[in-house]
C-alpha cells in the first residue's frame, strides 16, 4: 500500500460546496457579512498584511500545540506502558482513568485558569490534559494485549522488567501507541485553539475570535481556513511518518502469518 492518494471524488464534493457557497454569497449580498464569498477569503489571505498577521498567530498556535502534544505523548506513553504491564498499577488506576476520561476536556479550562493564570502554561496544560487520554488508553491497551510468549522471550534472554518494557513492550505496542497519537493530534489542536479563544492574546484561536468581534468576517474566515489547513497538514504529516515507521506492522498484520501455507 502506498501513502494515500488524493481522494478525487471527495475533493470534487469539497470544491462543489465551495463553488455553491461562492454563488450563494455573490447572489445574496445581504448574507455577505456572515458568509463572505470564498474568493474574498482567498483574496484576504493573499494580502500581505493579513497573511503576515495570520502566520504570526499560526506560529504561536503551533508552538503551543507542539509543546502540549509532545509533553502529552511522553507522559502518556510512559505511564501507559507501565500501567499496561503492571497488573498492580493498573488495578489502582483503571477506575480513576475511566472516571476522568469521558469528561469533556474543555471543562478543565476554568480549573487551569484558576491555578495557572492565563499564560502559555495554562494553554499548554489543558492541551496536555486533553491529548494524553487517547494516547494513554491506547498504550495501556496495546501493552496489555502483548502475547505472553513475547514477554517470556525477553525473560529467557535474561532481560529484567525495565529492559522488557523498553525493548519489547514498547515496540510491540507501538502500533496501538501510534493510533493513540493519531487520535490525539486533532484533539490537541482543538484545545489549543479553544484555550486561545478563552484567554489568549495571540494565536489563531485568539485571532479568529478577535476578527469576529471586530466585524472583519473575511479575515475571521481566513483564520478558520488557516487552522483547518494546519490540522489537515499535521494529520497528513503524521500518517506519512506512521506508515513509514509502522511498515513492519502493516505487513505483519496485512499478510498474516504465512505458516501452514
Amino acid at each position: 500500500m502506498k501513502p494515500r492518494r488524493l481522494n478525487v471524488s471527495g475533493f470534487a464534493v469539497f470544491t462543489a460546496a465551495l463553488f455553491f457557497w461562492e454563488i450563494l454569497s455573490r447572489t445574496r449580498p445581504e448574507l455577505q457579512s456572515y458568509f463572505p464569498p470564498p474568493s474574498g477569503v482567498l483574496r484576504a489571505l493573499a494580502e500581505l498584511s493579513v497573511l503576515r498577521e495570520i502566520l504570526r498567530h499560526l506560529i504561536e498556535t503551533l508552538g503551543r500545540f507542539l509543546s502540549g502534544y509532545l509533553i502529552a505523548a511522553a507522559l502518556a506513553v510512559g505511564a501507559g506502558v507501565i500501567l499496561g504491564y503492571s497488573r498492580t498499577a493498573y488495578s489502582f488506576f483503571a477506575a480513576p482513568i475511566e472516571l476522568c476520561r469521558p469528561m469533556p476536556s474543555v471543562a478543565i479550562i476554568p480549573v487551569a485558569i484558576l491555578t495557572l493564570g492565563i499564560g502559555n502554561a495554562m494553554m499548554i496544560a489543558v492541551t496536555v490534559y486533553a491529548a494524553a487520554w487517547p494516547i494513554l488508553v491506547n498504550t495501556i491497551d496495546g501493552v496489555r494485549h502483548i502475547d505472553r510468549t513475547l514477554i517470556d522471550t525477553g525473560r529467557t534472554f535474561g532481560l529484567g522488567r525495565w529492559k522488557i518494557l523498553r525493548r519489547i513492550a514498547l515496540p510491540a505496542a507501538a502500533p496501538h501507541i501510534a493510533t493513540g497519537l493519531r487520535v490525539s493530534l486533532p484533539i490537541a489542536l482543538i484545545l489549543v485553539t479553544t484555550a486561545e479563544m478563552v484567554v489568549g492574546a495571540s494565536g489563531l484561536g485568539f485571532y479568529i475570535l478577535d476578527e469576529e468581534r471586530s466585524l472583519r468576517t473575511t479575515n475571521m474566515y481566513a483564520g478558520v481556513a488557516a487552522v483547518a489547513l494546519a490540522g489537515y497538514s499535521l494529520n497528513r504529516l503524521f500518517v506519512a511518518v506512521e506508515s513509514r515507521a509502522m511498515a513492519w506492522h502493516r505487513g505483519a498484520s496485512g499478510k498474516g502469518s504465512r505458516e501452514r501455507e
Binding site: T156, G158, A172, W248, E259
Partner: protein, 262 residues
Amino acid sequence: MNPPEPILKVEGLSKNYRQAGGESTPAIDDISLEVQEGEFVSLVGPSGCGKTTRLMCIAGLAEPSAGRAVVKSVEVAGPPRNLVLVFQEYNKSLFAWRTVLGNVLFGIESKGARVAGAEAKAGRLIEMVGLVGFERHYPWELSGGMQQRVAIARALAYEPEVLLMDEPFGSVDAMTRLELEDGLLKLWKELRTTILFVTHDIEEAIYLSDRIYVLGRRPSRVVQTLDVGLPRPRNQIATRADPAFMRLRNEIYRRTADGSAE
C-alpha cells in the same frame, strides 16, 4: 568412576495447577532427569502430559510446585543466565518489528554491552541456519520453517550453555521438519551446545538424541530412559531404516501405550 556432574539436573519436578475448588492435584507426576554437558537429550511424551509446563519451570519462567532444576550446580530461581528457551510458537516469539538480522542481534545484545563485531557474528549465525540474503526481511515475509530458524539463530546468538527447545518443529510441515532436524544437528555438532529437546514425535526424538526420557500419559512421569546409540552423523534415510531405530521406536510406542492403558 563417577560420571561428571551433569550440566542440567531436574529432581522430582512437578507443576500442578490449582483446580476450581482450590485443591491442587497430588504431585504424582514429578520428573527427574540429567543432562551431561554437550549432550542432546529429548523428553518425549504424549500431548497434554505437561511437557511444556515442566520445561517452563526448568527455564525459570514458571515456578514448580515441587522439586527443582539445577543448572551448573545453581538451583533455578528465575531465568538462568546461561540457558535459553526456544518456543514452539516462533511467530509469537519473534520480534515482528525487527528484521532477521535485528532478531539475531537481539540475542547478542542481551548478553550485555554491545559487543564489537556483533553484526559479523549475527551474519555467521544467519549463514549457519541458511538464511543468507534474508537479513533485511521481516519475520512475516518468511515461511514458518524459516521463522523458526531465525528463532534458533537468535537463541544461539545468546551463546547459551544449555538450549531448551519446546516442540520447536511442531508447527511446520513434514518436509520442512526433516530439514530443520538436520539443520539443528549440524548446528549442535558445530557449537557443541547442550540441548534438551521436548517433542511428542517419537521418531524425531530418536533421530536427534543421544538419550531419551519417555514420559507416560498419566501419571506423567518418566517411565523409561533410553540411550539411543545410533551412529552419527545421522541420515534421514539410513538412520530411520536402521533396525536399531525401529527397535527403539517400538519400545517407546509400547511404553507410552502402557502408560495410557494404566
